[in-house]
């Protein structure tokens, strides 16, 4: 009997904002505990929230990028529950009037190889709403210490329809979502810093059934790989329970990515009654067309649109295009080189092969690279002009990476230019023929391959400077006529 999984994800993303969602206090990470607070963050008697419009801008942009319907009027609700990390004992969230509804995240599943584009799918979204983050509890032996620095940080909650069918799809979904959010500057999505957190609702059913099975919520998935591993583990667990005659209970489980195990956290019986109601301290906000138009103009090209354009208009192979669009800065770097006149495929090769390899080896970010788009364009031009050979180009690149000098300057400094001086070339060719009569005779008698030995000799004589194309021409003229 075959089972299939039905998965829905709830992703919390911290919005990159200078100040908290409902006060002017700065957001931050790693500051001394309880320094990023004020009366509103600490829920002192009498303190009131005031909306930070930047958070609303961010979620509207996200919605526009993911083809969501944007509400014309949105409002804030109180989600009431007692927990020490929640200073007001209610969280400002959105219940029945979220900013975004529907929409989808386009994903790409792994292809047959890195050189082949995988299947594209759209994962539909239910909604995206705004809410504020809570504080952080640090449990010590006998005490629990609370740091409210994170409390009030703007969060988006992105909720998918239960349409994800595998751990791979969930992985691709998070990868693609993350890429889009980083592209638009909405969040850095650093999961280690808790900027992106994911809960997965997982159920299984027999293939062919349409009814949903009992769902289990998997919490605490704090890396994209853990999401994939956790889902794989949970699906296996549920299939085991089902095939051994057991019953899957509705519960929340905590997944530990380190050990690969999950444990029950609470069952359905303990579900909260959040007593949602519209926050009377905050006014509903009307989002008009002009506002949306202004934000739409700030949106970047979508990653998959960029990938398609690179392939179709710039003639890049899929493998290079997919690497370049993974990171917006890298794609911008590439496009800058092209704009400076570099041939796209050549520039893409230098960037995806050499530059990324050397940056990784040196543990450097692209922003710290001494090699700029102009360097790449300069190097590609030298090769195109035939001024340097491919091996010289490699040497120039290595030098540029270290010194930051432009390609032409490196070539001049190191004397790494191909010789196209016909006189010198003819001299070297004649010498090579004289030194290797055997090969010369073979060429004359029709063995075309024998020319390579002579060419090698010319390169040696010229200390690598000879332009191989011209050498080939001259040798053929001298030998075959």
């Amino acid at each position: 009997m075959d089972f299939e999984a039905v998965i829905g994800l709830e992703v919390h993303v911290q919005i990159k904002a200078a100040s908290k969602m409902f006060t002017r206090v700065a957001t931050g990470y790693g500051e001394p505990p309880n320094t990023l607070t004020d009366p509103t963050v600490l829920a002192l008697p009498g303190a009131l929230p005031v909306l930070n419009k930047a958070a609303l801008d961010a979620i509207i942009k996200t919605g526009l990028m993911l083809d969501c319907e944007i509400a014309t009027v949105t409002r804030w609700d109180r989600k009431n529950y007692f927990y020490p990390d929640s200073p007001k004992n209610y969280q400002l969230s959105q219940y029945d009037q979220p900013v975004c509804r529907h929409g989808a995240v386009e994903i790409e599943l792994p292809g047959a190889s890195l050189a082949v584009m995988g299947e594209h799918k759209k994962i539909e979204l239910t909604r995206i709403h705004l809410e504020e983050d809570v504080g952080k509890l640090n449990h010590e032996t006998n005490d629990s210490l609370i740091d409210y620095n994170r409390a009030g940080t703007p969060l988006m909650e992105i909720v998918t329809e239960p349409v994800i069918r595998s751990a791979d799809e969930a992985f691709a979904f998070l990868t693609s979502l993350r890429q889009s959010l980083i592209y638009a500057g909405i969040s850095d999505c650093d999961m280690e810093k808790g900027q992106m957190r994911c809960d997965a609702n997982i159920s299984i059913r027999r293939v062919g059934e349409t009814k949903l099975g009992t769902k289990v919520e998997l919490k605490n998935l704090n890396s994209i790989s853990y999401v994939r591993d956790g889902i794989v583990t949970e699906i296996k667990r549920q299939i085991n329970v089902a095939t051994s005659g057991g019953t899957i209970v509705q519960e929340t489980r905590l997944y530990d990515g380190e050990t690969g195990r999950s444990a029950s956290m609470r069952s359905k019986e303990m579900a909260h009654d959040y007593r949602y109601f519209p926050d009377p301290d905050l006014m509903p906000v009307r989002i008009d067309a002009e506002w949306k138009t202004r934000l739409a103009a700030e949106l970047p090209e979508r990653p998959f649109a960029k990938q398609t354009r690179f392939i179709e208009q710039l003639g890049l192979p899929y493998s290079a295009a997919s690497v370049l669009v993974r990171d917006r800065a890298l794609a911008d770097f590439f496009e800058a080189a092209v704009k400076l006149g570099a041939k796209p495929t050549a520039a893409a090769n230098w960037i995806t092969n050499d530059l990324l390899r050397d940056l990784a080896a040196a543990n450097l970010a692209l922003a710290a690279s001494k090699v700029t788009a102009a360097h790449i364009a300069g190097l590609v031009a030298l090769v195109e002009q035939g001024a340097v050979s491919s091996s010289q180009a490699k040497e120039i690149f290595a030098d540029m990476f270290q010194t930051g000098d432009q390609a032409a300057a490196v070539a001049d400094r190191k004397g790494l230019r191909q010789s196209s001086d016909t006189g010198a070339l003819e001299g070297w060719c004649a010498t090579a023929i004289a030194n290797d009569a055997k090969s010369a005779d073979q060429v004359r008698s029709g063995n075309a391959k024998a020319i390579n030995a002579l060419k090698g000799a010319v390169m040696k004589l010229s200390a690598g400077k000879a332009n191989p194309k011209l050498v080939d021409d001259i040798l053929r003229r001298l030998l075959v006529g």
Binding site: L42, G46, P84, I146, R275, D281, L282, M283
Partner: protein, 485 residues
Amino acid sequence: MAPLHFQTIAELSGRLARRELTAVELIQSLIARTRALEPRLHAFNSFDEADALAQATASDARRAAGQVRGPLDGIPIGLKDVIAVTGQPLTASSKILQNFVSPYDATVTRKLKDAGAVLFGRLNCDEFAMGSSNENSAFGPAGNPWDTTRVPGGSSGGSAAALAAGEVIASLGSDTGGSIRQPAALCGLVGLKPTYGLVSRYGLVAYASSLDQIGPFGRTTEDIALVLRAIAGHDPLDSTSFKAEVPDYRAALAGPAPRRIGIPKEYFGEGLDPEIAAAVEDAVKFYRDRGCEVKEVSLPHTRYCLDAYYVIATAEASSNLARFDGVRYGHRSKAATDAIDLYAKSRAEGFGAEVKRRIILGTYVLSSGYYDAYYLRAQKVRTLIRQDFLQAFTEVDALLTPTSPVPAFKIGEKADPLAMYLLDIYTIGVNLAGLPAASVPCGFTSGGLPIGLQLIGQPFKEADLLALAHTYEQAHEWTRRHPAL
């Protein structure tokens, strides 16, 4: 001329300007009076003499340097103990905040400081502003200066009692369902509940956010106008605060007052004390004699006001008061064993009976399965109530009603919470509709207790409302009577 402690802001600021008096002399006189009266009155939860003297000294220094900040400079003003003042206790008359000192100023506090007022004392009130008699204070009831065995009204009872007794020159209260107007009526003062959104709520301990509004108590409408001018206006820290220019309310007193007055027939039914009915009818006659057009109007949903109020107010309160949990500040139970126990015990020990009653009611009406039947329905009723008022205002400029159905009653007399809730029947609709309304003294009972007249105005037309009240006040002696204490 009245003794110093019974004078108005207008009179005292003139004397300060003429150097007939210093701010220090004024506050010293009030401190002495407060010390003498408080054992009987208990209008204050606390007062900081040294701080008040320092503020008065600073005011005198400003005056000497020619840097007077306006008519409130040097005037002692008391604040209800639900309004935050940096470095001063903020108890909301609750044990749960018994030892809490505010680290920040409410916006009204900052504005009064900017105006040079001498902020004097933390005034007694019903716990978390829940009540109609000031008997729900965890620190004991305040007395009514006209008869200290009687209540001053609630929840801003201390703010009314301190002013009526001459312990302060003006005061601020908060009004969620009548908590400024009702004690103003019971203590013979002018009290104004401004339009929702005119005065910032930032720094006001929240009871029911959509209904709460800070407002002034004064001896006269002129004093109310002066204080309102200082505290009104847009506040970027309160998203419900209205963006508009603040008019010169005092100048408007002399201007034309509204001439079309509506008498809501639903406000003159069963339960209204006959002496109050008679006094209010005299006031109606006064306006008619002055050439006003007086007509009966109907507010048909009036009978649903109390029900809608107790659903909405308690729902908001149950959420607003969730922050009092013993975790960050305030009372923390020493007997707690875990987090849930910490909440349960700290709140059980810290909150009084009326507060608990309202939290439980509010939790219930918001709970899943009941939300639609109670909260959502109450909000719809609220809309109808507001529409009633706005409909009436297409025919008239202001409404005239009694403020309270009864005069000040004995402390301990009303033990039934529901009977107590009925005391707010004339005031609650105004909060549900977000309108401005003032209570103005309009006579005394045969037993010598003050009677209040309520004037209800159109949104943000406080200037008109005060002008209308001023006309009445000028033609009567009521505001010049003071309790013999």
